[in-house]
């Protein structure tokens, strides 16, 4: 009995810390067919699985709730062409907050002129989209999305990468700032001495 309790406590210990250890939340939303697809995770590569995401309208009213899948993805089908705000509390001070603008949602719902799935090739580029049936178009769009997803994730990860320049830049600022305060303190002391 106590042993099983201990095992439960230990497994809790192992599973609980994961989200709290990471330090930066990554959240993004993008159009996906007629739905809004989003991604939720941490900058160290952990994705937020089974996380509830609150969907809010521009007036702060709740439009719905979605839950992320095992890879941190969620799908929300909008019904109104208003700005959609996605908010998730990942615990321990980690809050994700992303908004998709009204124009983009309207485009998604097919309300804007010339609406097609944004991921599909723009019409006129190849001259053939008119010849494709809508089922084919949808299939191409899905294929493209699947192909682009790893790329998108890679770009998101790349954006989070801290390169040497910014590290050195930050250290430079620190030394400059403390050098300046050193100068001021030294001047003050010289004035006092003279």
């Amino acid at each position: 009995m106590t042993r099983s309790a201990l095992a439960v406590a230990l497994s809790l210990l192992c599973t609980l810390p994961a989200p709290a250890l990471a330090h930066k939340v990554i959240a993004s939303v993008f159009p996906s067919g007629s739905a809004i697809e989003g991604e939720l995770g941490f900058s160290n590569g952990d994705m937020a699985a089974g996380q509830e995401v609150l969907v809010l309208g521009p007036d702060g009213g709740e439009l719905g709730r979605v839950t992320t899948d095992a890879d941190g993805f969620f799908l929300f089908t909008p019904t109104e062409p208003v700005a959609h705000r996605f908010r998730a509390d990942l615990g321990a001070g980690h809050v994700a907050d992303v908004t998709m603008q009204a124009a983009e949602v309207a485009h998604l719902l097919g309300l804007a002129p010339g609406a097609s799935t944004p991921d599909a090739p723009p019409p006129g580029d190849s001259g053939t989209p008119g010849a494709l049936s809508s089922a084919q178009q949808a299939e191409i769009a899905t294929l493209l999305r699947d192909e682009l997803r790893p790329l998108r994730r890679e770009i998101a990860a790349y954006r989070e990468k801290n390169d040497l320049q910014s590290i050195l830049g930050g250290i430079g600022y620190i030394f400059g700032l403390f050098g300046l305060s050193f100068y001021i303190a030294a001047r003050r002391r010289l004035k006092k001495d003279s």
Binding site: A92, G93, V95, G170, S181, A186
Partner: protein, 205 residues
């Protein structure tokens, strides 16, 4: 460890900022000429430490090093850590600008408390004894920071105990690592530059 923009309620953010300003003012008054270089180096170490990831199990944690800054600088840890946090927010997007005050308070206040508690023990006795006290101070500062983070979340509406437990448990490994690191840093400093820790005692707290 870094609370992000929008996670806390406004009174907590404003209160934290005011207390941080008071702490920074206190620190700046005690930041005399002799201690400015040490403050700069510790500020830079704190800035970079957050990029050093220690893999633990499936995840990783990053160093904080606030205990070491507190033990060497005393109250002057406030301005030093504030500068580090500001640049982390600007360059890396850790935390945020509106929560800068509360983050400074959460990280610097435990560092000062660790200095008040174990600081007097460090220059005394053998270097090894000093190092053990230093390690204790390093771990204590992290524990204090987790409690402060949990408290800020609790004041913003989270339940205190679950939040505190979550943050505390998550940081047990980093407490051990920082304790060891701070201990070794103190050991080295006691051997090569023993006056580093008596310097911050120049003005009685």
């Amino acid at each position: 460890m870094h609370i992000v923009d929008g996670a806390l309620s406004n009174p907590v953010v404003i209160g934290g900022a005011m207390m941080a300003v008071a702490g920074i003012g206190m620190g700046l008054r005690r930041l005399d000429l002799e201690r400015i270089p040490a403050a700069g180096v510790l500020s830079a170490s704190f800035f970079v430490a957050s990029l050093i990831h220690v893999p633990i199990g499936p995840s990783s944690v990053h160093l904080i090093l606030n205990g070491l800054a507190g033990l060497v600088l005393g109250w002057a840890a406030f301005p030093a850590l504030f500068v580090g946090l500001l640049l982390q927010a600007v360059f890396f997007g850790f935390g945020g600008l509106t929560v800068l005050g509360i983050n400074t308070l959460n990280i610097a206040l435990p560092a000062v408390l660790a200095w008040l508690l174990v600081g007097p023990m460090i220059p005394r006795g053998s270097p090894l004894a000093g190092a053990i006290w230093g390690g204790l101070g390093g771990a204590l500062a992290i524990a204090g920071t987790t409690a402060m983070v949990a408290l800020s979340l609790a004041l913003s509406g989270d339940e205190f105990l679950p939040a505190a437990r979550l943050v505390f448990v998550a940081h047990v490994p980093i407490m051990i690592i920082e304790g060891l690191l701070t201990g070794f840093a103190v050991l080295l400093a006691r051997k090569v530059k023993p006056d580093l820790f008596t310097l911050s005692r120049g003005i009685p707290a």
